[in-house]
Amino acid sequence: MDAVSTSANIVENSNLLLAVMIPLVGSLGVMTMKNHPNLREFISSCASILLFIIVLSFIPSVLHGKVLYYRIFSILPGLSVTLRADGFSMIFALVASSLWMIAVYYSMGYMRGLQEHAQTRFNACFALAIFGAIGVALSDNLFTLYLFYEIVSVCTYPLVAHHQDDEGYMGARKYIIYLTTTAKLFLLPALILIYVLVGNLDFPHNIFTGMLPSDTKSWVVIMLYIFCLLGFAKNGVMPLHHWLPGAMVAPTPVSALLHAVAVVKVGVFCTTRTMLYVFGINTMNALNLGVPTAYFVSFTIIMASVIALSKDNLKSRLAYSTVSQLSYIILGVALLTPHSIDGGLIHIVNHAFSKITLFFVAGAIYVATRKKNISEMSGLGRSMPFTFGAFAIASLSMIGAPPVAGFVTKWYLLVGSMEAHQVGILLVLIASTVLNVAYFAPVAYKAFFGKRPAGEVETGIQEAPLSMLIPILIAATVSVIIGIYPNFMMQFVKAVTG
């Protein structure tokens, strides 16, 4: 069916193991450098740069239609820990590794700016979360995916509970309960049942056939599909999204990591990976699973935007915006047309860069002014023009206005929904765009043109430290660049959809 399925194109490459080991070793290195903060941050940044270079080194082979793989452990017949780099994994691996680099510098500025406690633990867990995320991106089978998915859940717990106050513990508790319960309750049986049916858990090399045998009863397939959709609760699909706003108690770099890079993207990546590779387009079409899924996540898109409107806390508003935006990705894939899948997958990238900008901005505002609520931010744009400028750009991306990255997504999704002849989905996308404008535009508008609250003086507030400002500007710039030149990332998406 596709060129990749020939075995000549599957190449063993031990650098895959290196890519997974770097964040792990980096994390161990960070732990040993408890009393040397500078050295500790040096290790983190070295690891992030190394990881990025390694991931970049996969690009030429993948673009030549090759699939890299490396088997680490062979556990049982058909059950192994195996890594793979193909177009699909590169989308997420590139996002995670590049944003880790930026996030390391940003969190250095943030944590030191606020003189937070337990910075070593923070940095170590940060690296471990990336270890899990890269593992998810590079997994070759459902077991490896599940393994790293669970690693991300466990390793981000300390990050959410970082402040160690009642609020932090409550948020972290909700977080871990939602994520482990859904994983055990839905994913584990799905994983085992697929193993029983198929005899292995390896993903195929195309998005059409899926891995289930053709004589599987349709109710079993549908049950497995529902299990997979609900089991990866990191994807933030309602009604299992509550952990995400709860996790907002964490320090802002964590929110940025959780809500732009590691956790939520792990969720949608896993969801879309299973939709396309475990079930496959043919099966999903045959059982008509796509359109109901699209409508199911449409509810999340609209509902989360409506809730976001009502939030005054900037991070909460961003959190609900994330819930809404993640469902775009699933929506695109669920429509099962070439363009809609393109739009869904490219949104993994577009949303990551734009949303991390927004969270970085929220953190910068907090460090500079200790303000959390949008209502207190009017007029701040004049004191912090770069920060709020970046916020405005990233908001445009969320809304889907050209020339910022989000526009590319919207374009493909709109085309895809027309291809699929789903007028309802088209209306959902339009409504969601209007809602996005409604909750993002006032923030930027008030910051630049609003009046300061009575009694506050204009002076004394300035931009956050450079170590925070530079990552913000980089992330915002990248959002614009991938909006103008979407082709670089589109190549990988095209490698998936063919």
């Binding site: 452990f73 062979s74 556990i75 049982l76 059950l79 820990v81 077991f143 599940y146 393994l147 669970e150 466990v154 509970a161 160690q164 106050d165 009642d166 513990y169 508790r173 871990i176 309960i177 482990t180 319960t181 055990k184 309750l185 584990l188 049986p189 085992i192 049942l193 193993y195 029983v196």
Partner: protein
């Protein structure tokens, strides 16, 4: 007797049984606490090393009993001294020999009174544990089965906690009650066969009623030992009061005797009853999994929490055994080993906290993560292993058991799934409390992190957690032939029985 491969030369199995006994005898003459500790450590270490040739010499391709030894014992009653290991028992023998040095290390400071006697008890315990798993004569098996009660009773009753009398007597009465039924069944089988040789009793055409009665007698004895819900009530009491080493032996080895008995006796001796009663036992296992999970979730005593988690884990073992397919049974044997490793390690961990705080209360052990980073690292890995985190040993066991269950019945497998969620819930709850606690943690700054001896005690367990979790194939290879043979015989027997039923009709 053609099912035995007799061992020429050095009688390894007899050595493994009697060497600790010799060690114990020496301790009768030389007391002195320091000597007793080091001597027991030496004996158990030599024993552990001496058991390694079992692995190297084990032939994974044959279904026969290997390293076999046969001597006449009481000829007029046809009782013989016959030993041998096959794929079902070898891992359990190794588990019992390898775990003992760490039990000694765990008691190094924990036991302060009557050290010599304690060590003698441990050594005698080892005699009966190894003996039970290698015995091929039913009378010999029963002797070891009963023999073990005495040192275990003493371990709890002498070195136990505040309610040691209650716990030890309860343990004794429960197990004794089961043993009586076991003895009755053994004698009934002897009267039918005229021999106590276990393989001779298998795959015989006993009448249906006879099979049902024997099965129920077996089942009662073994279910108490496992312990299966609702026969489990002695377990939390015994665990809570026992000293650390006692808990470790109890969890790691003693509980396995029940499930070993089911595999070794119930399936081959009473196949018809097994087929008839398996569905009920499967649902009883599910009940045990759920019950263990819910009860563990409600515990404030760390030892009780781990004890109830055992009820849940052993539910998976019985589920795997009575699902009667190779994935299920292999998963069940793996799960026995895993439970031995993980729960043993968790009891060691709880013991280490107890040595420091003199309490098993979870709320008094909150927030120690900051002061004992090494300790909580170990604890974290063992807890993850306990609830079947992928990549650790328990995942393999549960995965195989559930895969076997899914092959037979989807509703049954789906009914067991909430048990895994509960396992995650109670383990993560405990882990969260111990590492982090809340905002009102007691002052833990006086705590010292693990010492060298304690790290040495825990490290091998961690090694096995990951070895079995990431490369279980060598372990499965050891048992595979025997398990396949067992199932094949079971299948043949079933075919045979249905043909016979047809003819009768």
């Amino acid at each position: 007797m053609d099912c035995l491969i007799l061992k020429e030369g050095f009688p390894l199995l007899s050595f493994l049984i009697f060497f600790p006994l010799a060690g114990a005898v020496v301790l009768f003459f030389f007391s002195g606490e320091r000597f007793a500790r080091w001597w027991t450590l030496c004996i158990t270490t030599v024993e552990a090393i001496a058991s390694l040739p079992l692995i190297t010499g084990f032939d994974t391709t044959t279904v026969k009993f290997q390293f076999a030894e046969m001597h006449r014992w009481i000829p007029q009653w046809h009782i013989n001294y016959i030993l041998g290991v096959d794929g079902i028992s070898i891992l359990l023998v190794l588990l019992s020999t390898l775990i003992m040095p760490f039990c000694v290390l765990a008691s190094w400071r924990y036991i302060k009174t009557r050290v010599t006697q304690f060590m003698i008890c441990l050594l005698i315990m080892q005699v009966s544990m190894v003996g039970l798993f290698v015995a091929l004569d039913f009378m010999l098996f029963w002797v070891f089965w009963e023999f073990m009660l005495i040192p275990m009773y003493l371990l709890i009753a002498v070195w136990g906690g505040p309610r040691k009398e209650y716990a030890s007597v309860k343990f004794f009465i429960y197990t004794m009650a089961g043993s009586v039924f076991l003895l009755v069944a053994i004698i009934a089988l002897y009267l039918k066969n005229g021999s106590f040789f276990i393989p001779d009793m298998m795959w015989k055409n006993y009448s249906t009623t006879f099979q049902m009665l024997v099965f129920l007698a077996f089942f009662l004895a073994f279910a108490i030992k496992v312990p299966m819900f609702p026969f489990h009530t002695w377990l939390p009491a015994a665990h809570v009061e026992a000293p650390t080493a006692g808990s470790v032996i109890l969890a790691s080895v003693l509980l396995k005797m029940g499930t070993y008995g089911m595999l070794r006796f119930c399936l081959p001796i009473t196949p018809e009853a097994t087929f008839t009663l398996a569905p009920y036992i499967l649902w009883l296992s599910i009940a045990g999994i759920m019950y263990g999970g819910f009860t563990a979730l409600a515990q404030h005593d760390m030892k009780k929490l781990v004890a109830y988690s055992s009820v849940g884990h052993m539910g998976f073992v019985t589920l795997g055994i009575f699902i009667l397919n190779s994935r299920g049974i292999e998963g069940a044997i793996m799960q026995m080993i895993n439970h031995g490793v993980t729960t043993g390690a968790l009891f060691l961990c709880v013991g280490m906290i107890y040595e420091r705080t003199h309490s098993r209360e979870l709320r008094l052990a909150t927030g120690v993560g900051k002061y004992m980073p090494w300790y909580v690292t170990f604890l974290a890995f063992f807890s993850l292993s306990s609830f079947g985190f992928p990549g650790t040993n328990s995942f393999i066991g549960e995965f195989l058991v559930l895969a076997g269950t899914f092959t037979v019945s989807k509703p049954l497998a789906l009914a067991a799934i909430p048990g895994t969620v509960l396992a995650a819930a109670y383990m993560l709850r405990m882990l969260q409390k111990i590492i982090w606690g809340g905002t009102d943690n007691p002052d833990q700054s006086y705590l010292n992190d693990l010492g060298f001896r304690e790290i040495i005690t825990l490290a091998p367990f961690l090694f096995f957690v990951f070895w079995i979790g990431l490369g279980p194939q060598p372990f499965i290879d050891m048992m595979h032939t025997s398990v396949v043979n067992l199932l094949q015989q079971l299948g043949e027997w079933q075919q045979h029985a249905s043909v016979a039923a047809l003819i009768l009709q």
